[in-house]
Symmetry: C2
């Protein structure tokens, strides 16, 4: 059965690529209110596709935000294990558009890569599993285990409605393990199993000075400029050692044991590798920790954008009435996102100058999580990688956030397998996002192996 | 002659308003490269208008940027004084567009006010003089003195080509005094003569981190975020006392004498008046100086906009490759704009972190100036205000910058009269800029009086 599925997948690479391109053409940017119809279209596209494969109970299930696409195939019977496959069909915004070399929603193949928003994050990686399921069902007539798909449309905005959705559908989602392909491996031949993700608290701080924009010649130095005040406020959030200055911020951060630190600094992620990946002139970060540690087990704070005043070509001598900044903090396991957001809000309210009205919007809060690598579901993934990539994976903590991981753990108590196929240079969230196509095809075969191996190991 | 001109002006208010509205409809934003044809159209509109009035030597004179419109009427003869009238036909950008209550380039009259970009700054105020000249030529058949118009299209970008233009046309521009209406008075009944303007150095600082945008989950805390670095850099430019920290910045700033400070703090500009005008929760500025002083005789530094990352609706967890800030400094007389820009550049280069590539663009440099209020040209303005507004003007230093003032002084050694008709709440450079129409009509009559009074006082 495994062999028939592999053969089918190898003979249908072109069709899989074309299907993925169709999926990538729909601009499903979840954060933009005007994209709502595109999210709905994407959900419909997926539902149609899963229906076409013969899956059962295909449903576009509404949430308070964008819908979840659900489908299952349970004909392997109650004796076989059940795998819940999670993916997200929403994508990041495309700004800055002028840095894209090809249009973000016209997926373009150049050499071994396909460029387009969502190519790896996560449309390409979720399609790996649709293709693998198709290979079994069409190539072998059946799957070796039961499958459930839960494909959401709000991951890039912090999955604000997923918790409520899962709580309302605990029975429907019941499974022996969850599988997520939404992470990257080290290079095209070196797979990685993710053993933890960081949490995220994303907020927007707004300072209001005057009731209307002012001429800087008339009012500069007389009333406070919200941009001047905002940079002062934001700059104060780090000290000279790159540590975050919010009182209580580090209280729940667990120190790593010497053994954990040694494992983390095994040489996979080095100063040199980060410099090569980013092209930055020098590294930066919290004193006392290596790049590998700062990338995954230490919390961080980043500014993502500052609004207010004039940023067009040329010059304008304006003091804006209002300035705001988008800020997020990556959190490590044990740090509560809600608690951290509260510490942030309290701190900003306390230090904001009296010359400004201040308001703070909490945009998303997601907890981090760690997984136990000794469970059969994760051991099966290591074996599947070995079959698909020719070598066993490394185990690594991920610096990014996948909100569903903590939810699956807390609400459904199931082991979560994070078996990704992206590459470090895939430019997630940035212009010219790509998917390395050999990884797409190897990913499909690895998934085929995984279903087979887990069907024998599972339960 | 004066009486005939006044009568003509009073009978043609509707036509003057319509003409001004036509001028305001052309979106002549000098800082936007794509607006170049609109600047040319505005210059042509003015040349046609001045030709229609019977002025001589009407010319659209090219510069390296936007053209200067020149016209004269010299039939008063060599015994009469000659007045050079300066104005600028370019306007500020219209961002943020969504805060305009009426379209910025569809001038809209509501009650006593006309709203539109350029309404006071400076199309409305330059049109005051076109209307006053028209009133003499059509109402009385002649002017009591010789008039030259120099109308430029680059004031809002710091008049980068005006110095070269004036140097190349010293004879053409020769006059006994220059008159500029590009400032504001205290309230509709309280005129103000401006006795000095501040200089301006406007720069853009760009920090480059990585070669491409990065995912903050993967690289936050590992490489420096250019926005994090930029807020730190910008915040350091002021100390706790609101003083600018650039070494040498204050070296050439002249201290005021106690008498000058007393005159400046006569009660015209108070904390209360500034709070009422701006709606700010509290004032802010350099310790040890009053609002009236900070507004005009102390130098300042303001951030006008910060670019980089994501500022749309919603959230994006990006570390931008590049972030930049537009920054300007208002300079007091004696401070050289070029020297100050150099101090700024040297300081930023010195303090910029090694984690960033830094580049700094000097966008404009204009020196400030002060004028001698005892000259006949300025005395004539005080008398004209008395005729037009029923009371003598206050004398005040202006916080904004008008580059031509220093050029007229240095290149042509002529007294410069700054006789404005705007109001403090006219929202220059901001959404919903307006012109108080009673000031427009009173301005035209005041100009008519000025030409008459100066024709008798001048030389």
């Amino acid at each position: 059965m495994n062999h028939d599925a592999l053969t089918y997948a190898r003979h249908h690479r072109g069709e899989n690529l074309e299907d993925l391109q169709a999926l990538l053409r729909i601009p499903s940017i979840s954060t933009l209110p005007e994209s709502k119809p595109d999210l709905q279209r994407t959900a419909q596209w997926l539902a149609d596709k899963l229906n076409g494969l013969g899956l059962d109970h295909v449903q576009i299930m509404p949430t308070a935000g964008h819908p979840v696409v659900y489908a299952d195939w349970l004909d392997a019977g109650p004796a076989a294990p059940t795998l819940l496959i999670y993916g997200h069909y929403d994508v990041q915004p495309i700004d800055p558009l002028d840095e894209w070399l090809t249009p973000p929603f016209e997926p373009t193949v150049k050499g071994d890569n396909m460029f387009g928003r969502g190519a790896t994050d996560d449309k390409g990686q979720l399609y790996v599993h649709i293709a693998a399921v198709e290979a079994y069902l069409k190539g072998a007539g059946q799957l070796p285990l039961n499958i459930k798909f839960m494909l959401e449309g709000e991951e890039e905005i912090g999955s604000p409605n997923l918790s409520a959705f899962m709580r309302a559908n605990l029975d429907l989602l019941k499974a022996d393990a969850a599988l997520i392909s939404d992470s990257h491996i080290l290079d095209p031949h070196t797979p990685v199993l993710i053993t933890g993700v960081r949490g995220l608290a994303y907020l927007e701080v707004t300072l209001r000075g005057s009731t209307h924009d002012l001429h800087s010649g008339s009012y500069g130095g007389v009333v406070q400029n919200p941009l001047n005040a905002l940079v002062r406020l934001l700059a104060s959030l780090h000290d000279e050692q790159g540590r975050i200055t919010i009182p209580g911020f580090y209280d729940d951060v667990r120190d790593l044991s010497p053994a954990e630190r040694a494992a983390m600094n095994s040489g996979l992620i080095t100063d040199e590798s980060v410099l090569a990946e980013t092209g930055a002139p020098a590294l930066w970060g919290e004193a006392g920790y290596t790049a590998a540690e700062r990338k995954s087990v230490r919390p961080t704070l980043d500014i993502h954008g500052i609004r207010g005043g004039f940023v067009g070509a040329g010059q304008k001598t304006v003091i804006p009435a209002v300035a705001s900044a988008k800020v997020s903090m990556r959190l490590v396991p044990n740090q509560s996102a809600d608690k951290t957001a509260r510490l942030f809000i309290d701190h900003i309210q306390r230090i904001a100058p009296k010359t400004m009205g201040v308001s703070i919007e909490k945009m998303s809060c997601e907890d981090g999580a760690v997984v136990d690598i000794s469970t059969p579901a994760i051991e099966a993934a290591a074996e599947a990688y070995e079959q698909g990539f020719g070598r066993r994976p490394y185990y690594m903590r991920e610096g990014g956030s996948i909100p569903v991981v903590s939810l699956l753990d807390k609400l459904l108590s199931m082991p979560v397998v994070m078996m990704g196929f992206g590459l470090p240079d895939d430019r997630l969230h940035a212009p010219n996002e790509k998917f390395h196509l050999p990884n797409f095809y190897r990913g499909i075969e690895t998934a085929i192996h995984y279903y087979d191996i887990f069907s024998r190991k599972g339960n």
